[in-house]
């Protein structure tokens, strides 16, 4: 077992998805591959049948290129003359057994019947592997990248933002937008974070795992864990209640939540049980948006449905206010959606579903309560926050506009529009200088007091529908997928940051429910990132399809994609696949589109110059079809000489020079879902995965089925740097990953249950620096990394590193460079201190000899720049070091010359270069002349000086 090379499923640019169960370690995989039961391969699904036989006959096993190709006989769709899967018997006839059931094409019996075992063995093996998996050590999942800021985020002294990301709390710097810490330790979703009101260097967090943890977020250290035991849904702290915090817990019924206060006992131990709960409020909502503490913890306001409950801690009474909830149009959307309390006054702001904001006052009296309405939002108010002084109220919602209501007046409001996506949370820094909003597209915007966005922390944009799949931009190595509506996002996996958004649709996006938008459905990169092809569509009715294909050229000057060709209605029906010919030698870029209308079209780049300018453009070169079947996939071989297009169940191979149909493969096993050519040494193989759960590998030389396996492939992705192909299958148990080479039916690597839900897309990302995994099973990870995206939009990968390790060194450095904030006080006091320092220095100068600048002393630089392991012993160094510092002084006292030096130094402090040279020289001479004598015979005065000097000169140490 190779302990150090543990592969983990790692979330990248993820989401709030709780992914703790999908955990893998290397040894489990070993079990799966080594202990597989040989001989229990399973049936060869799919059909070779007559046409296969016929082809074999006609080709005679020779080169298929020589004899032309066979078309499927008419009527193959009906299944006539095609062999059927035989279910009887368990006797494998195949010559080699593949551990996962794939095996070479067995010899066909004349009747065209195949023999092979049923598919059951496969299933049982999965179950076994799973059982093995659970004993495996190391249950770790790491989320990296900017995950969705699920909970509220906060500031401390304007320098950090905290946000909840799955099981972690992330600490970002507001200035640099870098993630500086990941606080990890919770074993389930973190649901709430709050700064310790009594110590602003500490942070409380609560989680579904029933614990409240106290962190020192500056150093990223867990200080204490309080075990509460219940599933905690939200956390609140109040400055007044020093030793208790408030949490919402779930009581009995799934929808009934209570706000309780938890006493946090004082204890020195790390883990403390705190089960002392006292009930505060009932019938509340779980989200922290629905609860707010006001007037320094005098009361707590909670909303749910049509109720506002206010609990007064002093009086221990609850008042409840109800809004009319009748069905008529006026009041139907009166539901409360969020609540905020004024920091200074007795005023509660509540947001409503119809976009109204109500400001409640006098709520300590059940009868005399009153409220004001502010109405600007046309849709639900997502969150509200008061500024620190309470003079302004911030609100946000679906409109993606941050509204600042000044003095709670309806007419006095300011806007920050075009924030890009729905505002989900708003929070205000304790000092009041910054606001921050978190958005539904996985983004945090830090906004300055004057409503100017100052920083954007953008994660992977979560779009509900990823149509384009995952792609890699060959230039930037960035992950490319659907981003904002109508945009392609370029996401750097290395830095976990969004690089930029490319606006494809180039139309104003109107955010309204029920509006049918233009959707970006397909995209592909070609010619080493020089070309980008995109397809967008909009379908309002069954018959009204708007299609548009755009071709973008990379402009080196602007470092961006520029629209080159726009094709309206490139096909009559939905485009199902899009691929570029990426052959190295091809001088002419070629694009193939396959469509449901039964055609595939070949587009080539032609000269489009006229008398005004030189230009290139794309035109249609060839239209191919096959029996009016819908074209479902297309794929170029690595060298670009062959094009494979699948028409429902049939795969056709076309010569890319002449656009001649070379041959067809038909497996009678459902429509082809994925199609890809093997690469490098395996380029003679073509792989296809069908909807009926069969993976086939055809040999292009023999035009025959090489092997097939029963595998419900959802994702099939070739690795561009190796022959490997990754396939992800899905079953009710979860998704499994298989990595294999087309040449061998035996998978290289199996990772069971990488995700509980369906994996939608996957991609191999080439590594910048190849890893060197020694173990055979991980060699496929050496040159590229596999990323995949699940249905709930979590981007996951297999990794051996923990997220703390993944933090870039630059962001780590930020921790060290924590500087004082430049407040007005700093300017006053800082100046004062500087003056003091200067005075001190001046005094020292008068008293003492000017010391040579430490940086320029060779002994020190030598000491600092030589690697530690080649340095001589410390005692030797010490003497040398002290020596080097003392020499100038020594020379002065001894030879009386330095007085002049001193004078000079004082006179022209600016020309330090010369001076240093001079002192260095002196040093050298002293070194040689006086030698060790001086070191051993320090006079008393020298010792005194030395001591003084030690006291004084610490600055350089900190400077290093």
């Amino acid at each position: 077992m190779v302990e150090q090379e543990r592969v983990r499923v790692v979330r990248c640019g993820g989401s709030e998805l709780n992914f703790r169960r999908a955990v893998f370690s290397a040894d489990s995989k070993y079990g799966a591959t080594r202990r597989c039961r040989p001989g229990r391969g399973w049936s060869l699904p799919g059909a070779a049948g007559k046409n296969c036989q016929a082809r074999r006959d006609s080709l005679g096993g020779g080169s298929w290129l020589g004899k032309g190709c066979m078309r499927a006989p008419p009527g193959t769709r009906d299944g006539a003359g095609v062999c059927v899967l035989c279910e009887e018997g368990d006797t494998p006839q195949a010559r080699g057994t593949a551990p996962w059931g794939a095996r070479p094409l067995p010899r066909l019996s004349p009747a065209g019947r195949l023999r092979g075992p049923g598919g059951r063995a496969h299933v049982s093996r999965i179950g076994w592997a799973l059982g093995r998996l659970e004993d495996g050590p190391g249950v770790d999942v790491y989320a990296t990248a900017v995950a969705l800021p699920r909970g509220p985020s906060f500031f401390r002294t304007e320098s950090y933002i905290f946000c909840v990301s799955g099981d972690f709390v992330k600490v970002y710097s507001t200035a640099t937008e870098e993630c500086v810490h990941i606080l990890q330790g919770h074993r389930n979703l973190v649901t709430g974070i709050q700064l310790n009101p009594n110590n602003h260097l500490q942070l409380y967090s609560c989680s579904f795992d029933g614990t409240i943890k106290l962190w020192d977020y500056v150093d990223g250290i867990l200080i204490k864990t309080f075990i509460v035991g219940h599933k905690l849904h939200a956390l609140f702290t109040v400055a007044r209640a020093e030793d208790s915090v408030f949490v919402t817990i779930n009581k009995e019924k799934p929808d009934i939540f209570q706000l309780v206060s938890v006493k946090l006992p004082k204890s020195s131990s790390q883990e403390i049980e705190s089960k002392e709960l006292s009930f505060v409020l009932d019938y509340i909502n779980q989200s922290p948006k629905y609860i707010a503490f006001g007037n320094e913890g005098e009361y707590v306001a909670a909303v749910r449905d049509f109720y506002l409950s206010v609990y007064f801690f002093k009086k221990k009474t609850t008042s409840r206010f109800t809004l009319s909830s009748s069905r008529n149009k006026k009041h139907a959307k009166n539901n409360f959606t969020c609540v905020a309390c004024h920091p200074k006054e007795d005023c509660i702001a509540t947001g409503h579903k119809d976009g109204k904001i109500r400001l409640w006052r006098n709520f300590d009296d059940d009868k005399k309560y009153t409220y004001t309405c502010l109405h600007w939002h046309h849709d639900m108010v997502m969150d509200l926050a008061f500024s620190v002084t309470g003079t302004s109220l911030l609100s946000g919602g679906r409109e993606s506009v941050l509204v600042e209501w000044r003095d709670a007046a309806e007419k006095n409001k300011e806007f920050l529009p075009r924030l890009g996506a729905t505002i989900e949370h708003i929070s205000v820094s304790p000092a009041g200088d910054l606001f921050c909003t978190s958005h539904s597209d996985n983004k945090i915007i830090v906004i300055h007091r004057n409503l100017e966005a100052s920083a954007v922390i953008q994660g992977l944009v979560k779009d509900s529908n990823i149509f384009t799949g995952l792609m890699i931009d060959p230039r930037t190595k960035a992950l490319v997928l659907n981003g904002k509506p109508g945009h392609l996002q370029f996401y750097s996996l290395q830095s976990d940051k969004q690089l930029y958004n490319l606006d494809i649709v180039q139309q104003e996006y109107i955010n309204d429910y029920g509006l049918i938008q233009i959707e970006l459905t397909k995209a592909a990169f070609g010619c080493y990132g020089n070309w980008l092809a995109t397809v967008e569509q909009r379908q309002e009715k069954e018959t009204e399809l708007e299609l548009q294909m755009k071709l973008w050229m990379y402009n080196k000057k602007t470092q961006g994609f520029v629209l080159n060709t726009k094709v309206n209605m490139p096909h009559e029906d939905h485009i199902t696949a899009l691929c570029f010919c990426n052959a190295e030698k091809s001088e002419n870029p070629t694009l193939v589109t396959a469509s449901k209308d039964g055609h595939f079209k070949v587009w080539i780049l032609t000269d489009d110059s006229d008398i005004y300018k030189k230009a290139v453009g794309w035109t249609c070169d060839f239209v191919g079809s096959y029996h009016k079947y819908q074209a479902t996939n297309c794929c170029f071989s690595e060298d670009g000489s062959l094009l494979a297009v699948s028409f429902e169940e049939i795969v056709t191979i076309w010569d890319s020079e002449t656009w001649e149909l070379k041959c067809t493969f038909c497996q009678r096993a459902g429509k082809i879902r994925h199609l890809c050519f093997g690469r490098l040494t395996c380029s003679k193989y073509l792989l296809g995965a069908t909807e009926n759960g069969i993976l086939c590998c055809w040999n292009l030389l023999s035009c025959a089925l090489e092997w097939s396996a029963k595998l419900n492939v959802r994702v099939m992705e070739p690795d561009l740097n190796s022959e490997n192909i990754a396939a992800i299958s899905h079953s009710s148990m979860g998704s499994d990953l298989f990595v294999f080479k087309p040449s061998e039916p035996r998978p290289l690597y199996i990772q069971k249950n990488i995700s509980r839900e369906e994996v939608q897309w996957g991609v191999f990302v080439p590594r910048d620096v190849p890893e060197s995994f020694t173990s055979e099973a991980y060699q496929w990870l050496n040159r590229s990394q596999f990323y995949f995206l699940t249905k709930s939009q979590s981007l996951l990968t297999l990794s051996t590193k923990s997220p703390e390790e993944k933090l870039t060194p630059t962001s780590k450095q930020l921790l060290a460079e924590e500087s004082l904030p430049t407040t007005p006080f700093y300017f006053i006091l800082g100046k004062h201190r500087q003056q003091q320092d200067e005075k001190l220095n001046a005094a020292l100068e008068n008293e003492l000899v000017q010391l040579p600048l430490t940086e320029n002393i060779p002994a020190i630089s030598e000491l600092l720049h030589t690697p530690a392991h080649v340095l001589p012993s410390a005692s030797f160094l010490c003497s040398m070091f002290v020596n080097s510092l003392l020499l100038s002084k020594e020379s002065k006292s001894a030879e009386e010359i330095p007085d002049d030096v001193d004078m000079e130094e004082e006179k022209e402090r600016d020309d330090s270069d010369e001076e240093n040279d001079f002192t260095e020289k002196v040093q050298d001479t002293d070194n040689t002349d006086l030698g060790e004598d001086i070191i051993h015979q320090l006079s008393k005065s020298e010792e005194k000086e030395l001591r003084k000097f030690r006291k004084v000169d610490y600055s350089w140490i900190t400077a290093l």
């Binding site: 006052r361 006098n362 309560y369 009153t370 004001t372 006095n412």
Partner: protein, 531 residues
Amino acid sequence: GIRCVAYNNQSNRLAVSRTDGTVEIYNLSANYFQEKFFPGHESRATEALCWAKGQRLFSAGLNGEIIEYDLQALNIKYAMDAFGGPIWSMAASPSGSQLLVGCEDGSVKLFQITPDKIQFERNFDRQKSRILSLSWRPSGTHIAAGSIDYISVFDVKSGSAIHKMLVDRQYMGVSKRKCIIWGVAFLSDGTVISVDSAGKVQFWDSATGTLVKNHLIANADVQSIAVSDQEDSFVVGTAEGTVFHFQLVSVTSNSSEKQWVRTKPFQHHTHDVRAVAHSPTALISGGTDTHLVIRPLMEKVEVKNYDAALRKITFPHRRLISCSKKKQLLLFQFAHHLELWQLGSTVATGKNGDTLPLSKDADHLLHLKTKGPENIICSCISPCGSWIAYSTASRFFLYRLSYERDNISLQRVSKMPAFLRSALQILFSEDSAKLFVASNQGSLHIIRLLEGSFKHLHTFQPQSGTVESMCLLAVSPDGNWLAASGTSAGVHVYNVKNLKLHCTVPAYNFPVTALAIAPSTNNLVIAHSDQ
């Protein structure tokens, strides 16, 4: 449209003046019933209305006159010229003994209210432009006067302006030409609240003359303000038809510091809210859309009953339409004219509740204009359709109408007797032979109508000591009995044959809203305003 609203706290009555000069008095305790009304006059555009000395009602208008109304006889007691040009504003002192008017020429005039008249006392410092709003400090020592672009604070004793507070003309960054102070309110703590044409509600400190707080509430003019007696809430009306409620709310539950907070907006009007009033339990607003809206304050209402519901007074409480059953004629009364319509007819038959198609449309037969500037008080058409009578404040008209085969002719019956000067209510008997006229002196005349002429039969004099005028009449179908009711006293039933007072139905707590005598049984049916 409604121009002014004045609420009298003592009697819980509301005086409403309309743009045609009509003044109506509503009794809020009697279920918002319109008890009395004073007909308007073309030249008397009321601009200000106020109660003083308890039950005395004054109005002032653009003709420069101050008018006092006689609430018993339902006529104008006297009109007095203030000699300052059109009067824009008027305010009675908190003690009720003094009356202040603001005039077009910028003068503020103080009148002393004597028991039967008012007497000019003195002028305050004259301002540059018209005084559009006035308010007394509840202690009676200072007044605030809103003008164009500024507010002046006067000391009542010396009559000199002690502060002049300039109002910002800017509206949403755009400078308007003028900022008109439509209303001011002086609170007892010295705060002056002003509402202006730039949509602002501003709080001023009258001691220092500085702006304390500014609420921008509307894009259009804020035209009216009214403060509650407790000074814990006030209401403003805007030209957008919205009424805003402001409340004095304590900042935190345990501190005594309080602040004014805009609380609820009410949108019950479609047009400008020209006037608002604040009763202890309700907000009252009226404006150009002619509705009078009474919005009860929920927190002040003890029990939820019919009184706690929103009230919108849209329909007139007087009888403005009379009909002739025989000839199917309808007479509509307008402020300055009468219209006579022939009803349409149908040949179709149908069930109860069906809508039948008209075979002949309704026909406008007659448009009768009054002479003179006075409004019509009441009108009536006889059941036979051959007589029309109407009355203004000073004259009584009777017409003979003949309508046969599309030929219509109208002939005025001249030589009305001298006692028939003005009538509050006119009624014809069922056989159209007799005319009953309730005059504003409280007397009741019976006139026999002859072909083309008439004969005075009898006059029922009011009971001794009362000057209350009758404003409701009902006659029995057989013509023997006549019931008449005043504003507060009981219903008197007269025997028309004997020309004697038959009996008096004892007075009920609530005023009578309608009277009728049942045709067969001769039972008198009385409807009161409390339902």
